[in-house]
Each structure stands twice: as structure tokens, then as C-alpha cells.
């Protein structure tokens, strides 16, 4: 992990500009949040391909579907809470059902939004979006992964929901998508095994991947060999990797900045229970809306730190016996 910090939304803004240069078919829409979602960068360079609809998320998403029906690759951005919830039926009816090339890329996912508080948090987006047929759900773990993911979803034909974050967070990958000296390739629907483990595997997504890596290295000091899998695509889920880890390490802990209901934990539980039931525990927000505060303090209060993962690892290992 590097000392350098960058917000995933910032990487998205830059990646969109790159995309705009090479792919003239890309259009970008926003709903009066472009300085925050960073689509403002694209707007500056390609004003003729950028459309701000004002504070009107339903219009945002159905308009994107219209562009997609006419052959464009349409990126629509706003905060997760507004994109997921104010445009949900629009996304389902006008984009997901007809399998249109709409990329709903939202920033300010989870509670790392911080001080704005509950009205601006979104801890149900993964659950809601993964329950829609045809929709690919992507949650990158850092800025480097966001750059390659943005490119990948543009190349992929079909509706995508990608969730990004507000704060600056540590880079897990080296520039160009390298990890521990190895070049990686980003594949939608495939996870990245960052570390193999014999005793337990932590399956994490988004900002919780950093916490999972810290937990794994703390556990190593106690003689516990924990693997870490980064699930950047929640749907379709990389079942093979999860089942392999379950068989190898015999216990799974999931970690996500999301309600414990219906998100990554739910998705992993579904796979395990139908294939290889092993002891499992979920780290996430325990069915509470949260409150305003600095995001790191919120992570501590609502159980989203490496030590929360560590506790769950011990609990699950005890259950396995």
C-alpha cells in the first residue's frame, strides 16, 4: 500500500477525459454535482458532449438511456444516494431492462461522505443494484483500479452501476494496475486475490479493501494467515475465487462499507450456502442509518475498521474450531 492518497472520484474524472479523447461516442450527463463527481473535467474539455440536467436525477437517467438507444455510450453521474434512489425506476425501466449502454457512475457511496450525514449516505446501493437483472455492479478499491475500471465499463456493452467514494484514500495498486511487482489485468466479473491465506479469507470491496489488508498484516503478527480478496465486481460475482478460498482456508469474513443486509456479505453468503457452507461473518454497518461526522470517526463508530475485521476473523475461526 502506498502513502499516496487519491479519491476514486478524482480518478474517474480524469479517466473520463482520457476516454473522451479516444472515444468520440462517449457522452456524459450530470445533475448539478459535476464539481463533486468530477465530471466537470470532462465538461471543460468536451462541453458539446456534456449535459447538465440540473437537480433532476430521474431526467438524468432516462436521458442517458435515450442517448444509449441512439448508439452513444452514456455516462450518468451524481451522488450514489440520488442516482440509486431517485432514479431507480428510471434505471430499471429505461436502461437495465432493455440492456442499454448506460453507465451509472455514482460518487459519495457509503458513509465516508462524512459530515453531510444520513441524507447523503448510501448504504443500500449495492443491495439494490445487484438485485436488478442485466446490471453489472462495480466497486473499485482505489484510484488506480478506478482508472482501469472506467475504461473496462466503457468497453463493455450493457448497463453498469459503478460506486465511487468521496475521500482521499491510500493507493493499493501501483500506477498502471500493478500489485506486489506484478502487472494485473482488470476483468469485469473477476476478483483480485491480493494475498492467499491458509486460516481465513477476508473478502472485501471498495474502501474496506485497505482495512482488510491492514487486518491481514496485523493477524500475521499473531500467527494467523489471512487471505485477502478484492471483489471489485459484485455482480457478476467471482464465485470460483470465493469457493476456492472457502475450501482452502475454511472460513470467510466479508467487509464492506454498506449495510450488512444484501450487499457483498449477502452475495457471498448466497454462494457459500449453496455450495460450500463454511463459517462466515460479515463486517458492515449493522442496520443503522448513521450520523454526521468526520468519515474516519464514523468508520470507527460504525464498525468499519481493520480491528473490526480482526475481531470477526477470530470469531469465525473459533466457530470453525
Amino acid at each position: 500500500m502506498s502513502e499516496r492518497l487519491e479519491a476514486t472520484r478524482n480518478a474517474y474524472g480524469e479517466a473520463l477525459v482520457e476516454l473522451g479523447r479516444t472515444n468520440k461516442n462517449v457522452v456524459v450527463l450530470d445533475a448539478d454535482l459535476s464539481p463533486s463527481t468530477k465530471t466537470s473535467k470532462f465538461a471543460e474539455e468536451f462541453p458539446e458532449r456534456f449535459f447538465d440536467v440540473g437537480v433532476a436525477e430521474a431526467n438524468l437517467i432516462s436521458m442517458a438511456a435515450g442517448f444509449a438507444s441512439a448508439g452513444k455510450t452514456a455516462f450518468a453521474s451524481t451522488f450514489s444516494v440520488f442516482g440509486t434512489e431517485k432514479g431507480l425506476n428510471q434505471f430499471k425501466q429505461s436502461a437495465a431492462y432493455p440492456k442499454l449502454n448506460v453507465k451509472l457512475v455514482v460518487t459519495h457511496g457509503g458513509i465516508s461522505v462524512g459530515e453531510d450525514g444520513v441524507s447523503h449516505f448510501c448504504i443500500e446501493d449495492i443491495a439494490v443494484m445487484r438485485s436488478l437483472p442485466n446490471v453489472t455492479v462495480v466497486v473499485p478499491a482505489d484510484a488506480v483500479e478506478t482508472r482501469v475500471a472506467t475504461k473496462a465499463i466503457a468497453e463493455y456493452e450493457g448497463p453498469v452501476f459503478m460506486r465511487l467514494s468521496r475521500p482521499k484514500t491510500p493507493l493499493i495498486y501501483e500506477e498502471g494496475y500493478r500489485y506486489a511487482g506484478t502487472d494485473l489485468t482488470f476483468h469485469l466479473g473477476k476478483s483480485v486475490t491480493l494475498k492467499e491465506g491458509e486460516d481465513v479469507t477476508i473478502v472485501a470491496t471498495g474502501l474496506m479493501v485497505v482495512e482488510a489488508l491492514v487486518a491481514a498484516s496485523d493477524l500475521a503478527k499473531e500467527g494467523i494467515d489471512a487471505g485477502v480478496i478484492n471483489v471489485h465486481t459484485i455482480k457478476p460475482l467471482d464465485q470460483e475465487a470465493i469457493l476456492r478460498a472457502a475450501r482452502k482456508s475454511g472460513a470467510i469474513v466479508t467487509a464492506e462499507e454498506h449495510n450488512i443486509l444484501g450487499g457483498l456479505g449477502g452475495a457471498v453468503a448466497e454462494v457459500l450456502v449453496e455450495n460450500t457452507p463454511v463459517p462466515m461473518a460479515r463486517v458492515g454497518i449493522r442496520n443503522s442509518f448513521g450520523e454526521s461526522g468526520p468519515w474516519k470517526e464514523l468508520f470507527a463508530k460504525y464498525g468499519l475498521t481493520s480491528s473490526d475485521i480482526l475481531k470477526k476473523v477470530k470469531e469465525v475461526m473459533k466457530r470453525r474450531g
Binding site: D32, V55, A56, E115, D116, G117, H120, E291
Partner: protein, 288 residues
């Protein structure tokens, strides 16, 4: 008898002076609390300060000792991000101590980043997602009608907020149901989050739009206390249809460098608080 509100004209000089002074203090407390919180929305708090002073310290019937008083007037901050100015008013009116303002947006605070009716005494509705307040206000106003109550409902909206389709769904149903105990106030400061409304999403002609939806429209200068008070009285006299007061305001009103920044088309003072030194400069200007 409530300690605040329910009063109508005449609006004499002394009253106007008093309310102007209160508006100033709401402006400065909005700026202080957001700087202390290192976050929060100031532009839209300052533009609404005169309207909020007129409501909370003269027109709106309410009792800080009894926030749940059945017959209170209901105020809904539909543009929830401007809550600093409401928190300042609630503290000044006596719902809680001024000290609470300095815990804005901190963990455990009664003052959330956006209004929370379960945590903050005096907050009527939980808002923050734009576009919902007018619909909620209609529900309250119709409930008053059913219960034979005389209370009125006030909803403060932003002009950017008018982009939301739901506002127009509510505009349609309010006139359909002839809701005349509902006053909407639009803080028309000509800016939204990412720029001027004329550039991001034009609303023109805004008064005609409301008229076309069946509303009685009053246009005022939202910084002229007498005009604000008179318009609130006029709205009460209009029967059989809802009234909207379109208040022309300046985003950042009262602090020249903030007003100037908006006038030049910048948006950073929408959602970013003042630095300590900017705050000192702003407070000096407000109180000179």
C-alpha cells in the same frame, strides 16, 4: 398564547430594525458554526437569513418551550442544506443553547449536516434530499384541514431545487386540492450547486410557471424585511389556492466577497465554509 408569531401588520420601523438585526446575527452564527465544523453550506444560508428571521421572530406561531404544540405553524426547510441558518434561529429563539451550534456536524451532535426531526428540537421535517418538502407540506396542510386546525404550513425551497420534477407534482396537487393554508417561499438566489441557474438549468419565466400551475404568486425583494412581512400577510388572505412568494435574493447576502464570488459565476461558497481569516473579515463586515 405563543411567545412567537401569529402577528400581522402594521410593520413599524422598530419591528423592521429588530428583525434586520436578528437576520444579521443569524448570518454571523451560520458562518461561525460552519467554519468550526469545517464543512456546511453558507451561500444558501445567507440568502435565506432575512426570510428566516421574519418567520421565526415574527410571523410563524411557535413556542420553543413546547416544540410539539399542536397548533404551531409548520416550517419546512425543503432546501435542507441551508440548515445552519435554521439552527441559528432555533438557538436564538430558545430551542437549545447557542453552544450546541459549535458541535454542528460532529459525532453525537443534535445538529446534523442536514435537518433531522428526531434529533433537533424545533426541526419539523427531515430533509436534505432536495425536492420533497412541498409534498410533505401539503400533507401537513391537508391534515390541518381534516382536523379543523388553523395552523399554516411554510415551505422554503431553493431555485435550483425547482429543477426536481417532484416540486411540480406538488405544485399541481396543491392547487388541485385548493390548499390555501400553505405558503411556499422560493429563495431565488439565481445559483445552484455548480453555477448560475441560467447556465445550469434555466427556470425562466419562473413566476409564470407557478401561475400556470394555479398558484397565487407574489414577487418580492427577499432582503427587504417589510416586503417579506407584507407578503406573508398577503398569503394568509388568499383563499382557495396556494400562494408562492418568489423572493429575489443574493447568494451569500451580507458578505461582499462571497456575493462578489457568486456574481462572477463561481460556486465555491455554495458548500465550502470560510477559512478562519475569511470568517474574521466577514464578521467585521456584518457587524460594522
Amino acid at each position: 398564547m405563543a411567545p412567537f408569531g401569529g402577528k400581522t401588520a402594521p410593520h413599524d420601523e422598530d419591528l423592521i430594525k429588530k428583525l434586520d438585526a436578528i437576520a444579521l446575527s443569524l448570518r454571523s452564527d451560520s458562518l461561525i458554526m460552519t467554519t468550526k465544523a469545517c464543512s456546511g453550506h453558507i451561500g444558501g444560508s445567507l440568502s435565506a437569513a432575512d426570510i428566516v428571521a421574519a418567520l421565526y421572530f415574527h410571523h410563524l406561531r411557535h413556542d420553543p418551550k413546547n416544540p410539539d404544540w399542536e397548533d404551531r405553524g409548520r416550517f419546512i426547510l425543503s432546501k435542507g442544506h441551508a440548515c445552519p441558518v435554521i439552527y441559528a434561529a432555533l438557538a436564538k429563539a430558545g430551542y437549545f443553547s447557542r453552544e450546541e451550534l459549535w458541535a454542528l456536524r460532529k459525532i453525537g451532535s443534535i445538529l446534523q449536516g442536514h435537518p433531522d426531526m428526531r434529533r433537533t428540537p424545533g426541526i419539523e421535517t427531515s430533509t436534505g434530499t432536495l425536492g420533497q418538502g412541498l409534498s410533505i407540506g401539503e400533507g401537513m396542510a391537508l391534515a390541518a384541514r381534516l382536523d379543523g386546525k388553523s395552523y399554516r404550513v411554510y415551505v422554503l425551497l431553493g431555485d435550483g431545487e425547482l429543477d426536481e420534477g417532484q416540486v411540480w407534482e406538488a405544485a399541481m396537487s396543491a392547487s388541485h386540492y385548493r390548499i390555501d393554508n400553505l405558503t411556499a417561499i422560493v429563495d431565488l438566489n439565481s445559483h445552484q450547486l455548480s453555477g448560475c441557474t441560467d447556465k445550469i438549468m434555466s427556470l425562466r419565466p419562473v413566476a409564470d410557471k407557478w401561475r400556470a400551475f394555479g398558484w397565487h404568486v407574489i414577487e418580492i425583494d427577499g432582503h427587504q424585511m417589510k416586503q417579506i412581512l407584507d407578503s406573508l400577510d398577503e398569503a394568509e388572505r388568499i383563499k382557495d389556492k396556494p400562494t408562492v412568494i418568489i423572493a429575489h435574493t443574493n447568494k451569500g447576502k451580507g458578505v461582499s466577497f462571497i456575493e462578489k464570488s457568486f456574481a462572477e459565476g463561481h460556486s465555491e461558497y455554495h458548500g465550502i465554509p470560510l477559512t478562519e481569516s475569511e470568517l474574521a473579515q466577514a464578521l467585521e463586515e456584518l457587524h460594522e
